[in-house]
Symmetry: C2
Subunit: 340 residues, 2 copies
DNA sequence: TCCGTTTATCTAATCGATTACGTGCTGATA
DNA sequence: TATCAGCACGTAATCGATTAGATAAACGGA
């Protein structure tokens, strides 16, 4: 392989000079010499080893994404896909490659965190809810900067980018109320997610603000996935359609599941009941129905997280930075005024 | 940071001995000493730097995935998602992390390939059709092993994992013929993909084998995406329904597009016309109609590619290895016998 | 003309590991 | 007891870069 030594020999200078040319500093090099070095680099098809540079604290232009999910596969999930895709895109624009840590192998923080921080990445993005509580203390013991995305931002020392699930849920339920609904059911998400609790709280607050009494019989405990929404809608479809005119689901998967589960019960959406989700996940053009949801702009979220991480890597600020992103209503075809 | 030197001091041995303990070789260490070293590593919370080890030709346990597409975003594409997800899963099982190279930044082989090979990855997987022709000559000049996945396997020196698009298309068209169809239309894929041409060829051969004359009026040139299928079906829906009883699409996106485009024309599938795809892309449970398609088992493909790459990395065999994977028919709800 | 500055470059230490080579010790053999 | 093999481990070179410190030449002011 061609290394810096060969380039130095070929251009008749020391390796130090080649390095100064390569990095455009920290010491100046005469233009004439510089040109000779560049020529030698071209002739020998030289490209510096990222590894050797990292030995001196230089960056490797790699950001690690720890994308773990306790149950489902991350790559079959449009939410994770959108975020990871956004990270890769945002990274590529800034010349950063992205390393993905995904799989059961990384679930144990004691063995995983040292590997995340073994020098291959300049910084880390965490997509690990609800595992962050176990992961973050380990990460804080090391020097690799990291940003937590959606969840686990409760720790005040951790830089994070997050959405306000509470506000989003509240806005959506307020919207349903404005459309004339007063009997609004709710399918919850997994209760070990902080966001699921926040969304439930936003739902209750919006009702309270409108002077509507909270009815626990309209709340169906569930998980954050399609099957959960489908199963609950299939079991309770008729009851829901009779007792409520709208159904607010804890996320878009649940909402789509509910949609199909209700359809299987012969309930029409939005004719018989309105359905609203939250997250704004893009299921692609192949998908049929457009869901009314709160869009959290996952690409924008990813972009902001990457930029924040780059800031941490480059400037290592002393105090943690927390960003909260707003959700925006996206009207689809699943909400209408109540029939009655 | 704690490094090997501190561990050596703490356990009263030299760094060499610590290294022998760490690597369990190449020289033996007395059990007693080994225990002392392990204890010191635990006490100091020591974990070796992957970077420094790489300086001595050791592996970093990272495989790079070059996932480029000339037009669409890779992460909004279920095909790429399935393959990349499969690679990440297969890698995690073998203790490998995956680095993703994606974005316009890497389209130019002259600047990109040196970066792919800058030491951060032990090997590369190429998902770059149809760009491989430009990328592969550059890669062959370097020492980083690589495997090409689907396309660009034409170069006899390159190890690859591929499906036989020709056989798959032929099998699918033969199946349609067996179901009673004789007038079979075809939506092609982008003609700069070798696979698209192979699929078209398989279509023609299957017709020829059954003694059915090839009718160029039944062939609609297009691209490998949903919109292409949709647009062609929307424009020509009635004509297609009248002139053919089945439609074989160059991939699953096109097929889904055709499905919706025909529906918009009031054509029923499979009542009025049967539709078949090829690839076996999984659109997730949220998706409605089940397409009849040729499944190429993308997870299995990814798994085999990772294993092949690991073989190249570990054993550096002298001759390239080429694998061809079969496609399997997956019956869905979009093919029936012709109505007549 | 002499000395201090500036400029351009070289020498060598350094990063954190791996490993070839050298050394001291033990025990078996002649 | 001298010799030699083998074991256990230390010393130091090495990987490919970066960079502080040393050095030599050019330049400018008193």
């Amino acid at each position: 392989m061609t290394n810096i030594k060969k380039v130095a020999e070929a251009s008749g200078v020391s390796t130090a000079t080649v390095s100064y040319v390569l990095n455009n500093g920290p010491r100046p090099v005469k233009r004439e010499t510089r040109d000779r070095v560049f020529a030698a680099m071209r002739d020998l098809n030289y490209h510096p080893s990222a590894i050797a540079r990292r030995m001196h604290g230089k960056r490797v232009n790699t950001i690690g994404v720890v994308a773990l999910h306790p149950i489902r596969s991350v790559f079959k999930d449009p939410y994770f896909n959108a975020v990871i895709g956004g990270i890769v895109d945002a990274g590529a624009k800034l010349g950063q490659s992205v390393m993905i840590f995904n799989g059961d192998r990384w679930l144990d923080p004691d063995t995983a965190v040292p590997i995340f921080c073994d020098g291959r990445c300049d910084g880390l993005l965490l997509l690990v809810a609800p595992l962050g509580d176990r992961m973050i203390p380990e990460l804080k013991m090391r020097t690799t900067p990291f940003v937590s995305i959606n969840e686990a931002a409760s720790d005040p020392d951790v830089s994070s980018v997050d959405i306000s699930s509470y506000d989003g849920a509240k806005m959506m339920v307020r919207y349903l109320i404005e459309r004339g609904h007063r009997r609004i059911a709710h399918f919850t998400g997994d209760d070990y997610y902080q966001s699921a609790n926040d969304r439930f709280r936003g739902y209750r607050e919006a009702l309270a603000d409108a002077g509507i009494e909270f009815d626990p019989r309209l709340v169906y405990q569930g998980r954050y996935d399609y099957e959960s929404g489908y199963d609950r809608a299939l079991e309770n479809g008729k009851a829901i359609a009779q007792s409520a005119t709208a159904l607010f689901c804890a996320n878009d998967y649940v909402a789509y599941g509910a949609l199909r589960g209700l359809a299987a019960n012969g309930v029409c959406v939005p004719g018989d009941i309105s359905i609203a989700g939250i997250d704004g996940v893009d299921f692609g053009p192949e998908h049929g129905t457009k869901l009314t949801t709160m869009d959290q702009d996952l690409e924008g979220l990813a972009d902001e997280a990457v930029q924040l991480l780059m800031h941490l890597i480059e400037d290592s600020p002393l105090i943690p930075i927390k960003k909260i992103r707003p959700l925006r209503l996206r009207e689809g075809d699943t909400v209408a005024a109540p029939a009655r």
